[in-house]
Amino acid sequence: MSNQNGTISKRAREDRFQAHDYYQIDDLLSEDHLLARDAVRTWVKQEVSPIIEEYSEKGECPTHLFKGLAEIGAFGPSIPSEYGGGGMDEMAYGIIMQELERGDSGIRSMASVQGSLVMYPIYRFGSEEQKRKYLPKLGNGEFIGCFGLTEPDHGSNPNGMVTNIKEDGDSYILNGAKMWITNSPLADVAVVWAKDESGIIRGVIVEKGMKGFSAPEIHGKWSLRASITGELVFEDVRVPKSNLLPNVQGLKGPLSCLSKARYGISWGAIGAAMDCYDSALRYAKERSQFGKPIAQFQLTQKKLAEMITEITKAQLLAWRLGTLADAGKVTPAQISMAKRNNVNMALEVAREARQIHGGMGITNEYPIMRHMMNLETVLTYEGTHDIHLLITGQDITGLNAFQ
């Protein structure tokens, strides 16, 4: 807990996390996956856990971690290595996100935006020159990227966006505003989605310093406090035509990026849940009331047993999603189901874990409230909990209930 000077106690910096693998899911993973998992887990224990409560409390982004995330290979691990990625498979990407979010959802967000929402669209839809120009620097952390889709008046309905580009000689003139953009105040590069003069959604790469482009920070968040969030404001920004992503038109461009990121979130949420469960299990065994550890009471056991059951189910969902993704067979609707289920699961695990920790659960001596508050964002961003349900509904009935 914070003392009067606002410092964080030694206990909060200590990371006693031990992984729980109730169904021996490790047996389903390859040697590379386990190596990647252990590497990121070690990195999180060394670099994230000792500082995260402090940054979260201050509401400050630990920007020095961008370099470390790049060094460990957390930016675009499934982008081919010739473009500065890791050349790994989707399962590895998921596992890396799980381990980062075990530390903090905000740290995971830093990495998933850079990889899935910035590197991926440039890799998938960009020209060869764009790939060569941006991807290696995004991979090694020299450039920070952000992704502009959501607007102040268009969240769940991105198709309604008003941000637009108009041709003017060798350039496009970009106007509009984007909201809730992770990393934006720090970003060197923004992948921005805007409508052209025919109303077709196109992607453009906007660079820091372009005249008329600003990225003010959004303050006052009670969630993802260690991750920086902002707006993107475009006032007659002149973007060279060579910065247009040539190989995609329409909403499927940004949606395919979101599918990647949501896939990572469905793994990431498990990490946050594991951290809460692990802390609750340890606390329940150490804390005594009425002369015995509270883990010996049926109501505590019910909570713990349900937590590990739900985590195990989520792990199997994520693992299967990973095998489908690696086989190139995964559908966006399947990703929606896992994102929705696993994030909600994690939030419920956090709430149960908070109860097990009693009063201590509300302090920053334990990671519970931080995860819980973070997960409120994760439940809403990258497709809200409700929208994902409607995607499943549409997928199974063939009927659209969005409008």
């Binding site: 040697e31 190596l35 252990d38 590497a39 460990i72 290595s81 890791g86």
Partner: protein, 248 residues
């Protein structure tokens, strides 16, 4: 410089140690394994630093054990070793492990052979000295600093009881690494992917007759609970210390 680093597989530090029914082997059920930290963090990383210095060279890692050890070896390659050798044996003694390493090292013409000062499972600290003896090389134990300007002579700082000792030694030699020799390196994703294409050569062991085999392990007695003795009952306290604790 040609560098050989001996790496061992040990149970994770949080493992609950249980023995089999016969009491002569560790019950490996559910045990998570790691690379011995003294081998990994200090010996291997210092070897990699020397390789990356202007002196250049190569780092080979060697393990004596079954194919289940490949995951540990692969981690060494992911951290940056160039190639790996596994002597496919199931040794029962440190002497056998040292013999197998020495047999391999004889043909390798290595400038330095590095390994951790001990493994964190049996804590024997035997292998380094035995390898040096088999190869008739100098052995420098508990090294916490290793410098070499030319790759021919090294200055090594050793941790000794209550202080440090600095020694100079000509290559080739065998060195056991203590904390401080280097800093842990976490493998990155590129390293993990590159490790897949690095050679891991599996060699048959040289014939060796074990001179000793473990026959039984006992865990330390469980910690007894605290017993309160009334302050006026000094006689009972003395009796317990004498008869049960046997400390007076």
């Amino acid at each position: 410089m040609k560098l050989l680093v001996c790496v061992s597989k040990t149970p994770d530090t949080t493992t609950k140690i249980v023995f089999n029914a016969a009491g002569n082997e560790l019950d490996t059920n559910g045990v998570q394994y790691i690379m011995n930290p003294y081998d990994e963090w200090y010996a291997l990383v210092r070897a990699l630093e020397l390789k990356e210095s202007p002196l250049g060279g190569s780092v080979t890692i060697i393990n004596v054990g079954p194919d289940a050890n490949d995951a540990i070896i692969r981690k060494g390659l992911a951290i940056g070793a160039d190639e790996a050798v596994r002597i496919n044996a199931d040794p029962k003694s440190a002497l056998n492990v040292a013999f197998q390493i020495a047999e391999y090292a004889k043909q390798g013409n290595f400038d330095m052979i590095l390994l951790g000062k001990e493994t964190i499972d049996y804590n024997g600290s035997e292998i380094g000295a035995m390898v040096a003896e088999f190869l008739d090389l100098p052995f420098i134990s508990y090294a916490s600093k290793l410098d070499t300007a030319d790759g021919k002579t090294a200055t090594i700082q050793r941790d000794i009881e209550g202080g440090i000792e600095v020694v100079e030694v000509a290559t080739p030699f065998v060195l056991s690494a203590a904390k401080g020799l280097a800093e842990q390196r976490i493998p990155n994703m590129k390293g993990i992917m590159m490790a897949k294409s690095k050679p891991l050569n599996v060699l048959a062991p040289a014939p060796f007759d074990e001179l000793s085999v473990p026959v039984h392990y006992d865990l330390p007695p469980a910690k007894a609970s605290v017993r309160m003795i009334a302050p006026e009952n000094m006689e009972e306290l003395v009796r317990l210390l004498h008869e049960e604790a046997k400390v007076i």
